[in-house]
């Protein structure tokens, strides 16, 4: 079946550097994509989303890039901080209700 997956299960980044988390999806009908951050013992927290009519969207210190041609989504975090250490999930939807989640990437920020 179709699924959302992540390229790398873990990412270690030096504090202050930029982080890039990648995500591949296979459902060409997906038109909504979202990134969540999950800290230990907490629920997933919304970071940023993007619709398929866009290829880039920026938030505070975060940027999401969407490449529909190769079905690739990425999350860029600028000036990574210790508080950014968490598991990051990408998710996709083709009907605005159901989200399909990827496996998650664990980001560890080194001081």
């Amino acid at each position: 079946g179709e699924s959302v997956g992540l390229h790398l299960p873990t990412l270690s980044v030096q504090e202050g550097d930029n982080s890039i988390i990648n995500c591949a999806y296979s459902n060409s009908a997906s038109d909504y994509f979202i990134w969540y951050k999950q800290e230990s013992g907490k629920g997933p927290q919304f970071i940023i989303d993007i619709r398929s009519n866009m290829d880039k969207r920026q938030g505070q210190r975060v940027t999401v890039l969407l490449n529909k041609t190769v079905k690739h989504l990425s999350l860029q975090i600028a000036a990574t901080q210790p508080g950014d250490s968490a598991v990051y999930f990408c998710a996709e939807s083709d009907n605005d209700y159901k989200l399909s989640f990827g496996a998650g990437t664990t980001v560890t920020v080194r001081a």
């Binding site: 969540y36 907490k42 629920g43 919304f46 999930f89 605005d96 209700y97 159901k98 989200l99 998650g104």
Partner: protein, 112 residues
């Protein structure tokens, strides 16, 4: 600061017992979702509601799980009878249709 609330936060029970998890969605949200998270399976959608009506519960084991929305401020997920394989963190999320889903803190369920 509007947020989704869930109770209980932690539940330890014995196999065969009934478990009820509750969720209060964000006021004004018309869609409510129940997810289960495990290390092996990740985040799985169990069921979701729109305007209190169940839209899809295909991700839920029908023989033992049931999800309801008695009113717009309460969603429940019941397991009866519970089994050790049901041990997981159960999340509720709410949203407004095409908008973002906002997650609650989860209920950590341990079935012995």
């Amino acid at each position: 600061d509007a947020r989704v609330t869930q109770t209980p936060r932690d539940k330890v029970t014995e196999m065969g017992q009934e478990v009820t998890m509750r969720c209060q969605p964000i006021l004004g949200h018309n869609t409510v979702f129940w997810y289960r998270q495990t290390m092996m399976q990740g985040l799985e959608l169990l069921a979701y509601f729109r305007n209190r009506a169940p839209l899809d519960d295909s991700g839920m084991p029908k023989d033992r799980f049931s999800a309801e929305m008695p009113d717009a401020t309460l969603a429940t997920l019941k397991i009866q009878p519970s089994e050790p394989r049901d041990s997981a963190v159960y999340f509720c999320a709410s949203g407004n249709g095409a908008d973002t889903q906002y997650f609650g803190p989860g209920t950590r369920l341990t079935v012995l």
